[in-house]
Every structure is written in structure tokens, then in C-alpha cells.
Subunit: 340 residues, 2 copies
DNA sequence: CGCGCGCTTTGCAACGTTGCAACACTCTGC
DNA sequence: GCAGAGTGTTGCAACGTTGCAAAGCGCGCG
């Protein structure tokens, strides 16, 4: 059934409802034989607590929300996997929603009914600005992921994007590449990820004395493989195409590599490629992908830590800004070509 | 806040609690000016219904659970994306759990607290057999995904795996390949996916008069790229290695391709590869991957249909067995090599 | 003019659980 | 033998919402 209530168990065990509740909740002061009798009845009737009632009473649901633009993007699905696992240790369950990065849907979720349901929210915004977020942050423990200058509206976890972009670009410079392009500019978004990575890219070129070439900074509509391929084709159509490209995520990079190879180029000989995110595909692609690897496990764990703190302690603490580590993972796409 | 109750809104609007509830629930018989006054108060106080209380009263949570072995496997994350989207149309929210395919954790979830929470469950079992499932199926609307001979314990959605495997193998045979291996056998699992695909593979070979070669049926521990690569290395170490391989999923295939190329082989010239699942990576990999493409959108939609029916109608209907379409998508990994 | 019908609003109770506080009982120490 | 501390168990109320049924109201029709 599923309609077994404490009352039913109590009747079978011959005790009060409250005692059954005590057993279920592991309240220490229960006589061993009473406990045994109740547990037998629980087992017999296959009792399961009604969480709606429990939540109503306790004011907690044990649910946390993960709100991401697209769950089928490898970066987000890997993050989700870590988060679900980490949540399990705190006996929390994860509820997933996708926004497609659309501000309207992001807002709908934050203010919507589902938000009232969860004890906390891990949110990776693309379209929403700090102003929108501040309203919701009052209602519910909120952790922001991704590269948004926090502004103190909520706890915020990210890697140092500028530093990572610098590392990626410097790696290409150190390899002797002179014409380094960037794929992944998204000037239309409020989302600052692309801007920060672009900043790092530009700073590195400037520091190395490379000229800045406008057409080398390629805008993309979205962050999928197809967009990376299209951007690459644009670059290859230039009179003087690049000999290296820094892509703002791995999917763009994989698409770019694909387009380069379709055009007859050898990666990395003719074109060195660096990505960002270290998704699993990049480890087995041909060539394997040099990339910036953010510590996703740390992101998940720290995010839950933040939520837990807000839930337990006072919420008035000023918002935290947490930086998690990242590292450059050098693989074939920027290394020495297998044939050279 | 978040602690705004109907009572508070009622006080501000100067009506009864029940009337506010009527407005919130779009009950038709509310006088226009009353409605306006209540709505103003709702807006002013930023009221949001307490879902725990609502669920307790209504007996529905609006939540459905998706239980998969690993959410970061592309196949499952793509499926999750579709499911979340499809669920939105029914104003359901999706709760995700990972089992790692371990029977204990699968059972824990089915019988655990979280299951009591959701209105229905979409479950992709690896380790659990029909016997285990039947107990839970009574409690809650349940849809099984994947290739399990249903046994009528619950609604079940899958593609015709044997037919698909036959199609994949016949494709390789038609290309003139003579030594066709299979990667992905998992004899230790209750899960029947691998067995069905193996059946199809064997049947095709037999029909074409090919001998069955034991060492060509390679067992894998898991279904990740690394396992595919390892399996491929085993095959390449044989005195007479295969000239084609049918992998039971795309990740295995991508790993296998990687290993083949590391060994100096050209795919598809020296080795034709067919995968299964049609994950996004395979469309942009080098070479792009020939694969069996199940209609994932149909799976998601039909799954929700089943749940909806069970929720509305009587649950005693005998379990349905739904077959969704699939098709063979031919790409480079089995086609004519770009250089040939 | 009065009756009845339909629209609008309301109070009460209940969903299943747990916090609180009180109770009954046993045991220890004087 | 009795106060006091501790152990084990209980009843009551409340969490915020909605179903039910009934009450209040105004209107049209006979």
C-alpha cells in the first residue's frame, strides 16, 4: 500500500502513536522489548513515513534543488553526478531543473512553487543578474555556481576564471604559437563566464606582446559542439587563419577540432586546441583534449557545505565567495602531434 | 521570508483563509473585486504555497523520481534532459537519483523514504530483478526503462534490442567485414541489455554463415570509454584481430576507437565500428560514430504517459510493454574512410 | 411579493507527523 | 520510608493547506 500510518503500526504493536514515532526517529529512551515489538510491526506493515506530513511538521524537506541551464551538457551532468553523490551523505535528495539559460525560466524556478519545496538551491545562472537573485536569496539558502561577480547576494563558488584563461593561453604561447584565436565569446549574455575568460586571454596576449586581432575573438550562439565547429569554419575562412585556439569550453573545442580536421588540418600540428571543463569525452577523443580542469568534486562538496551552514546557522552571515582549485591538463590537442 | 501563510494574506485582504485558497487555486466563483483585492495582497506579501502542507492535504507531490545508474553517462543525461522537459508540460518536477547499478542502492531507493515522496517513478534498473521490483510496483506507479523482459510487474519501455543489434551487425556484414567482434558482454548482471544485444549479434553472424568466435565476444566491467579501450586492446592482442566491432554502447565504441587508433589502426579502413545509443559525442567525434539511435524523446514522453495513466485511472491494468522506434545512423566509423 | 436558485463566501475538520510537557514508574541515596 | 533523579510512555496541539457542506446574499421568475 503506502497508506500505512503511524497509527496503524501503533495499533498492531499495542503502543501509542508517539512511541512508534520515537522508534522511527531513533529516540534513545525506548525500552528494548517495546522497540522490538514496534520494529516487528513496522516491518510487518512495511511502514514508510509520509514525508509530506513530516516536512510540514519539521519545516524541512530534505530536498535540494539543482538548477542548471542544460542537464545534458557533460559539464553539468558530471557536476550533477557529484552533487547527487555528495548530497546522499547528508541524506539529501536532489531535484533537477533545466532553464535553458533563459532568464524567464530561471526566474520562474526561483520564485516558483518548487523553490518553496526545497531546503536549499544550487543554481548555475546564465541569464539572471544579481538584482534578480537578491530577492530570492532572502527566501532560501542559495549557492551560485559559475562565474558571476558575486556582489554578495548569495554564496558563490567558482574557479579563478581569469587565471585559468591566462594559464591556457600562456600554454599556447609557450608552445610557440603566434596566432592564437578564442572561441566562445557571448557578449549578449549577462553571464560573465565568457567575459572573464576573454579577459584572461587578452591579458596573456598583451603580456606576451601579441597583437590583438578582432576577428580572432569569435562569438558563439550557444556552447555546443556545433557552435564550436561553425566558429572554427569562420576562423579557417580568414585570410590568415590561427595556428591555435582557446575554446571557452570542451564542447566548443571538440567541435572546433572536428571542423579543423574536416578542413584537412592536423591537430595539433597545424592547430593547437585548448578547451575548458575537462569533460570525460575530451579524455578519449582523437586527439585527446588539453583543457582546464576545475575541481568538480570540490564544487559539489563546497556547495553543500554552504547550504548546510545557512540551514543550521544564522543566515545573516555575509555571502561567501569561494574559489575552488583548477589545473591545466595537457593532452594531445596541444602537445606534440603523434606523427611529428 | 517564506513564512507567509494563507492566513496572513487573508488578514491583509480582509477575507477568509478559504477565499484566499480559492483565488490561489483558480476556483471560478470568486467575485472580481474580491479576487483583485486578494491578488494584490498575494503580490504584496509575496505569498508562495507551502507544498508540504498542500501535498499532505492533496496526497500528491507533483514530483516524479528518475532513478538511473549514473546520471553523468551521456545516454542517461540526455534522457534526463528530455524527461525534465516533458515533465514540465505536466507541471511535474523531476527528482534524480543515482544507484551506480548496485542492487542494494536500487532497492534502497525503491523502498526508501524518497520513494514515498514521489507520485511516480521512472526507473532504469541494472541490478534488480523482476521479483524485487514487483513489491515496489504495488506501492507506486512505476515505469521501467531498458531491456528487461517485463514479466508484467510494471509498465516497461524499451526499443527492440535484438532487432537493433541485428541491424547493426548486418550493416557490418554488408560492408564486407568478415571478422566481427562484439564489446560489452556483461554476463554477471541481471540486466538483460547486454544479453539481448549479444543474441542479435550472434543471430546475424549465424544467418550470414559466419563462425562464432569465443574471443570475439568481449566482456566488460562497466560501460565507460576506458572499458571499451581495454576491450579493444584485448582484441588487438589476438593472433587474428577483428576487422569490425559492434559495441553495446557509444562510450565503449569511442573508447574502442581511441585504442584502435593508438595501435596505429585507421578507423574505419582497418576497423569498422558501430555503437549504440547515439549520444551527442558520437556526432562530432573523429571519426563520427555509426550507431543505433533509440528515440529518446519518445521514451521520455511515453514514460510520463504511463505514469499519468496509472495516477489517474485504476492501477490494476495489466502492465504495458511499450516498444519505441530506433534506427541505424550510418556515419564515418563504419563508412568509407575519408582517405580511401 | 415571496420563493427558490445560483453565485460568493465561510467555518470546520482532517491529512500524518512531531514538539512539548506531563505522567507513571523504577531506582538510588539518605 | 521518602525525596529526587532518571527512564519509558503518553495525550494534546499544531504545522498550512484543502474538501466538504452549509450559510449568506442578491436576483429573476412566477
Amino acid at each position: 500500500m503506502g497508506g500505512v500510518r503511524l497509527k496503524d503500526v501503533a495499533a498492531v504493536a499495542g503502543v501509542s502513536v508517539r512511541t512508534v514515532s520515537n522508534v522511527v526517529n531513533r529516540f534513545p529512551h525506548v525500552a528494548p522489548d517495546t522497540r522490538a515489538r514496534v520494529e516487528k510491526a513496522l516491518e510487518e506493515l512495511n511502514y514508510r513515513p509520509n514525508l509530506a506530513a513530516r516536512n510540514l511538521r519539521r519545516g524541512r524537506s530534505g530536498l535540494i534543488g539543482l538548477v542548471v541551464p542544460e542537464i545534458d551538457s557533460p559539464y553539468f551532468s558530471e557536476l550533477a553526478a557529484h552533487l547527487v553523490l555528495a548530497a546522499e551523505e547528508r541524506s539529501w535528495t536532489v531535484l533537477v531543473d533545466q532553464t535553458g539559460g533563459e532568464p524567464a525560466r530561471e526566474r520562474a524556478f526561483l520564485e516558483g512553487a518548487a523553490a518553496a519545496f526545497v531546503d536549499g538551491l544550487v543554481f548555475s545562472p546564465w541569464g539572471l543578474g544579481a538584482a534578480d537573485l537578491s530577492r530570492s536569496a532572502e527566501d532560501i539558502p542559495l549557492v551560485l555556481l559559475g562565474e558571476r561577480t558575486g556582489e554578495g547576494v548569495a554564496d558563490h563558488i567558482a574557479i579563478d576564471n581569469v587565471a585559468a584563461a591566462v594559464q591556457a593561453t600562456e600554454h599556447l604561447i609557450a608552445l610557440g604559437r603566434r596566432r592564437i584565436a578564442a572561441i566562445g565569446v557571448q557578449s549578449h549574455l549577462t553571464n560573465e563566464t565568457a567575459r572573464l575568460r576573454l579577459d584572461g586571454y587578452r591579458a596573456s596576449l598583451r603580456a606576451a606582446g601579441h597583437p590583438r586581432r578582432e576577428p580572432f575573438e569569435v562569438e558563439v550562439a550557444a556552447l555546443h559542439r556545433g557552435d564550436g565547429a561553425a566558429a572554427m569554419r569562420t576562423l579557417l575562412a580568414l585570410p590568415e587563419p590561427p595556428d591555435a585556439v582557446f575554446c571557452f569550453n570542451d564542447q566548443l573545442a571538440l567541435g572546433a577540432i572536428r571542423a579543423a580536421r574536416d578542413a584537412g588540418l592536423d591537430v595539433p600540428r597545424d592547430l593547437a586546441v585548448v578547451g575548458f571543463d575537462d569533460i570525460e569525452d575530451g579524455r578519449y577523443s582523437c586527439p585527446s583534449l588539453t583543457t582546464i580542469s576545475p575541481d568538480k568534486w570540490a564544487i559539489a562538496v563546497r556547495a553543500l557545505e554552504c547550504l548546510a551552514e545557512r540551514l543550521d546557522g544564522d543566515r545573516s552571515n555575509s555571502a561567501r565567495d569561494i574559489l575552488v582549485p583548477h589545473r591545466l591538463v595537457v593532452r594531445e590537442s596541444s602537445g606534440h602531434p603523434s606523427g611529428t
